[in-house]
Structure formats: C-alpha cells, structure tokens
Symmetry: C2
Subunit: 198 residues, 2 copies
C-alpha cells in the first residue's frame, strides 16, 4: 500500500485520514470536471481500497459534494482580503486571488459553475460561496460600497460579471493580460457604484 506525502496512514486518526483524502480529491478536482472525479479514481490515486473510501464518504454523490464544498471553502479562504492597506489594494488582492484560484482550478471550477445551474446540491455550495464573497463588502463596512438594496444588487451583478470575465479570459476568449483583466475588474466596482442613484 502506498503512502502519501503526509506520512504513513497508521499514524492518522480517521478524521485526519478523511481530511487527507478530501485534500487529494480537491487536488484532482483542479484539473478534472466533477464528472471525472470518482471513488475509483481517488482510490487509485490514494492507493487504498474503494471500500475504505466508501467508509469515509458514504457514496459517490456525498464524496463529490464534500470535495466541492472543500474547494469552495478554499476559494473563500484564499480570497480573504489582507487586514492592512487601503480598500482598493485589498480589493485588488482579493480579485487577484480569485483569478489565480480559477486559473489553478479551472476544470473543477467550471464544472461547479455549470453543475450548479442544474443540480440543487451543487447550487447550494455555489450560492453559499457566492454569498460569502459578496457579504465581505458589507461586513467590513466598505467605503467603496454603500449598504443599500441597490448597491447589494450591483455587487451581486459585479460578481457575476467578474466570473464571466475571468472564465472568458481563462478560456482564451480575450487578448487581455492577467494584469489588464485585474485592473478592469478592480476599476469596475467603484465605477458601478457611481451608477447608483444619489
């Protein structure tokens, strides 16, 4: 039986082992769509039996959901703005982290976006992450984004726009460089707020 980079599995608790397998699932998810992630693939990559995987995750659907939820949590964590700096610098940091996440996890992320449209369980994960990312502006009391019904709707629109543009950029559908894309996304939020009624 093979071991993984975290060491022999005999030293780990079941919970640790489950976490490690989830990490592996998320790594596989980076370059594969949800349909390509299976218990078989994970068992093969982890060098353990399918039975043990079913023991940890229940069934294939529960495993996919656990992987997607972990990946979404990673996205929210990685795009956390830094504590210091002005708001535009924080926004740039956060947007850059989002672009880099999509860049590094394109296949999985795209399959989540697409799957979320038709599968309620995936949509729940997607919506939770989308909401968490959007709520940040209001949690921190942003000076760029006032807290009104109209600005909340615009933030949501800006998020949908950002996703569309980053996926288009990653798919090679624009000649813009990563830096040009970042500049556009960061400049577009305050610009949109300028469209709010006085």
């Amino acid at each position: 039986m093979s071991t993984t980079s975290s060491g022999p599995r005999t030293r780990m608790s079941p919970q640790q082992r489950r976490e490690q397998l989830l990490d592996l699932g998320v790594r596989l998810f980076a370059t594969r769509s949800l349909d390509e992630i299976s218990i078989d693939l994970l068992a093969q990559e982890a060098g353990i039996s399918r039975g043990l995987l079913y023991h940890y995750f229940g069934d294939k659907v529960a495993f996919r959901e656990a992987v997607v939820r972990r990946a979404a949590d990673d996205l929210v964590a990685q795009t956390e703005p830094p504590a210091e700096g002005d708001e535009i610098a924080k926004l740039l940091h956060s947007v850059a982290a989002y672009v880099d996440f999509v860049d590094a996890n394109y296949e999985g992320y795209l399959s989540l976006v697409r799957g979320a449209a038709s599968e309620p369980a995936l949509r729940a994960v997607y919506d939770d992450a989308f909401r968490a990312l959007g709520e940040r502006f209001f949690d921190i009391g942003s000076s760029i984004v006032p807290d009104t019904p109209a600005s909340r709707l615009l933030v949501r629109g800006w998020q949908a726009m950002t996703e569309e543009l980053v996926l288009a950029w990653k798919a090679g559908e624009t000649d813009l460089t990563r830096d040009q894309l970042l500049d556009l996304l960061v400049a577009s939020l305050p610009a949109l707020m300028g469209a709010l009624p006085a």
Copy 2:
C-alpha cells in the same frame, strides 16, 4: 379535431402548420421549464396527434431545440433598439424589452439559462443570442461603447450582470421596482465604460 386561432389547419401549408405549432410551443415555454415541454403536452394543447408532431419535428430533443431557438430569436427581435432617439433612450428601450421578456417568459428563460450550462445544444442557442445582443453595440458604432478588446469584455460582463440582476429581481430577491432596476442597468453600462483604461 380542434382548430387554433389562425383558422382551420386545412388552409395551411405544412410549413405554416409547423410554424404555428412552434409558436404554441414557445407560448407554453413561457410558463414551463424545458423539462415540462413535451410532444404529449403540445399534442394535447394543439389538439392533434403525437404522430403528426413527430412528423413535423422529428423527435423530442429536436422539438425542444426548435422551441428554444425560436424563443431566443424572439428575444433578440423584441430587444431591437428603435431606429430613432439618443443612445441612452435606445439602451433603455432595449433593456426594458429584455426585462419584460424575462418577466413574461421566466420559467422557460430560467430553464434555458440553467440548461445551457450543461447541455451543449442549448448552450449553442444561448451563446448565439448572447452574442447577437452584445454585438449590437459594435454594429451600430455606439458612442457609449468604444470597440476595443477591453470594452468588448466589459460589454460581455455587463450582459452577465444584467441577466443576474433581472433574474434576481424576478425571483423577488430584491425590493427594487422595475423602474429602479432599469435605471440601474442603463446607468451601469456607461459607468463601466468609465473604468476602461485611458
């Protein structure tokens, strides 16, 4: 056998009859998701045999695709800006027509948006309509929207944002009125263009 509002079917050519059935399918699509549209339902509503419907449309998948394509064509036609007026007035007219289309065809439109995420045939229809709507700004030589790679990307983002906001509004997820929504969408396009690099 029942007749429809266009008169007895004996006076119509097969092509006219097919068009009429397609119109009926599009009307049904307004208040039903794609999954709910079936040959059975259409046969029942049109008062003709299933066999005749298969004769006109081939199979269920082809029928659904024909309905969706017709609905998308209707969307593009109905949102055509008027020939006269200033650009903001034209934009308002077009955006209002889009909002009203989604309002009147919510179930079907939502199922197209969702289905397009996972079904390539639906995605092709959706993408064609999305592109046709976006291309308008460049076909007419808009003074609001310059024709650069960055502005083309932003228009695409504005379209994604518009769709997100109109669906959220229709789903009752914001307290904004239709007029407030329209004002926000119309003001957001020039505002976004202000985010373009000089």
